[in-house]
Symmetry: C2
Subunit: 342 residues, 2 copies
DNA sequence: TACTTTCGTGTAATCGATTACATAATTATT
DNA sequence: AATAATTATGTAATCGATTACACGAAAGTA
């Protein structure tokens, strides 16, 4: 069928050794110009292709990097991966995708599998926030494989990360609602054991305090990232003696659910009630009543994570320093909270 | 730093040869039970991990498969990839992602890169529909690397594919509009050189003819997959002496644009005008005025493509047959076209 | 006891490329 | 012309695992 051409085949044809062929192909300066040309020409004519596996075995570098995400089919993660791929492709790296589905076991398994596959680095957004199963991580570090966290990170000494300033995102969104005249702002927080959600909450709280508003626990509803959760939250909030007149949700999906429930109850948005979400999911801007949301610039995050990885493997850089990149989120103001401009 | 343990290290420790260690680890029946146990125990205690690169070089199989898509950050492709990953992961394969951005050059480059990387198979959705640059594909086939197309395929002898029945999708959507009482249905078609769009168009046309309606070229607007294109199309269509009272769009984005433009003109949907899209993008069901759309079951498509690949590499299967899997699309009827149920 | 099987293990080649070291070929130096 | 310096190429080990073949030891057979 398909004859795999190796440097030995070229060598035999030219009556020289594989070593010379290898050197010629690698532009080794010790090769006579005439032989180099001859080898290159012959290689091309024989349709020679370097076997990357052999190279990988010899060099110990596979030119593959692994990316671990909870799931790939979410706009956020897909965009991050796009950024990673676009940044690493020109550098000769291939991107291997792994999903955890938020399962710590799978996360560990993926880490071990990637190490087994001899990847040159691992970029990941963690699923397991507990510090119980850290052996897998330490195994990675022990093997000296560069590790970079993005979005959801763990505090492990010597590991770099690229995140956004979730605190600021929460702060900006809340401040905006205040500026629009909202007097009692509720918050739909996600899983508070995840730092990103914790920080969004803290930003929310600080914005309230900085602007002379009272912070009250009961206006913070811990909810999942789903339409249903948003609806339930509204149900609770509107039952209060003093119901809120705005919601800052850490999730766009919960924000959407909340909006649907509010409309169900004939509450006018943004006149009577304002809503803001987080993540800038595509649908937020497509809605007829477009939803204000905090953008996490996933593409940029992916590119940045890739760059941090590249810096780590840069040979000229002898000392490897833990690098914490924090991107600034951007608030996209839309109809769901625009009283002044609409 | 990190001491890589090889079978030679285990061999040395036990005063046996690497061959024996290898056999013991691979459950070779020729190994004495006692030595096998000893080797396994020692391997575990030394924290031995098989070097997949060495194995790959020796066996010629990398256990990686490549996936080429126009872009990863679209719900459709991300979902397909998710399906592929979930199906192949349990079989020990890693998934390598490549993007083409619809550029034929990149497509070719990716094909060559993946072959260079010795992937065990390639699953792809083509970007270049012309048959001009087919050398890259034939190179893949010559190298005997299994190739499977999904969604957008090319007709290459011996190559399997997994697609949906776009004709049927177009037919169903159009028939539905007819059933809702629409008398003049326009069509926003995509790039007609892509077979998927051609087939959706043909399905639309056939549905009209089968139901005693007249087909008229001028109600078919070739438009891109964007909101803007949808708006422009409406602008043209409403300028006709007899404007249509429904649109079947091959793209959800164009459908959304059309809806926005229709509302801008105070045309009531679905009462005066019905709209249906294609792809079942997440936003279609989130809209307040949810959009009827044809679902392509991307997850299932990905899994199916992976299964077709697995069948191809199945050693027990001596003869490799070109397999054309055609999935049936599903029409999701929503508010934008529901006159009868709403 | 002598001879054949069977079993378990060792030897060495192999996958394809790179590279330290050795050596041959060429050029430079006196 | 003889020697030193330089340049180009060959030799062989290496990366880590697998495996055809060889061989010694144990067990079975007559």
């Amino acid at each position: 069928m398909s004859e795999k051409i190796t440097i030995y085949d070229i060598a035999k044809k030219l009556n020289i050794t594989a070593a010379t062929v290898s050197r010629a192909l690698n532009n080794n300066p010790k090769i006579k110009e005439s032989t180099r040309e001859l080898v290159l020409k012959t290689a091309a004519s024989m349709n020679y292709k370097q076997n990357k596996l052999a190279l990988a075995l010899k060099s110990g570098r596979s030119n593959n990097i692994g990316v671990i995400v909870p799931r790939i089919d979410s706009n956020f993660f897909a965009s991050v991966i796009r950024g990673i791929e676009e940044e690493l492709h020109p550098n000769g790296y291939q991107v291997i995708i792994c999903q955890t589905h938020e399962d710590p076991k799978r996360e560990n398994e993926n880490l071990y599998t990637l190490i087994d596959a001899q990847v040159d680095g691992i970029l990941m957004s963690v699923s397991d926030v507990s510090n119980e199963n850290d052996e897998a991580f330490h195994n990675v570090l022990k093997k000296n494989v560069p590790l970079v966290f993005f979005d959801r990170s763990k505090h492990i000494e010597g590991v770099s990360s690229v995140t956004i300033n979730d605190f600021k995102g929460g702060y900006m969104a809340t401040k905006h609602l205040i500026d629009e005249g909202c007097r009692c702002i509720a918050h739909l927080s996600g899983d508070q054991s995840l730092e990103i959600f914790k920080n969004r909450f803290l930003g929310y709280k600080q914005a309230l305090l900085d602007n002379g508003m009272t912070f009250n626990e009961k206006y913070v509803i811990q909810s999942k990232s789903s339409l249903e959760a948003g609806k339930e939250a509204v149900d609770i909030l509107l039952g209060y003696d003093i119901p809120p007149d705005a919601i800052f949700s850490s999730s766009d999906f919960a924000a959407l659910g909340a909006i649907q429930e509010l409309r169900e109850r004939n509450i006018s948005i943004p006149k009577e009630f304002c809503v803001g979400g987080f993540s800038n999911e595509p649908f937020t801007k497509f809605m007829e009543l477009s939803i204000t949301s905090v953008d996490q610039s996933p593409l940029e995050m992916g590119k940045m994570a890739a760059r941090v990885f590249l810096e780590q493997v840069d040979k000229t850089q002898t000392i490897k320093i833990e690098k914490k990149v924090v991107l600034t989120p951007e608030l996209h103001i839309r109809k769901s909270s625009s009283r002044t401009t609409s």
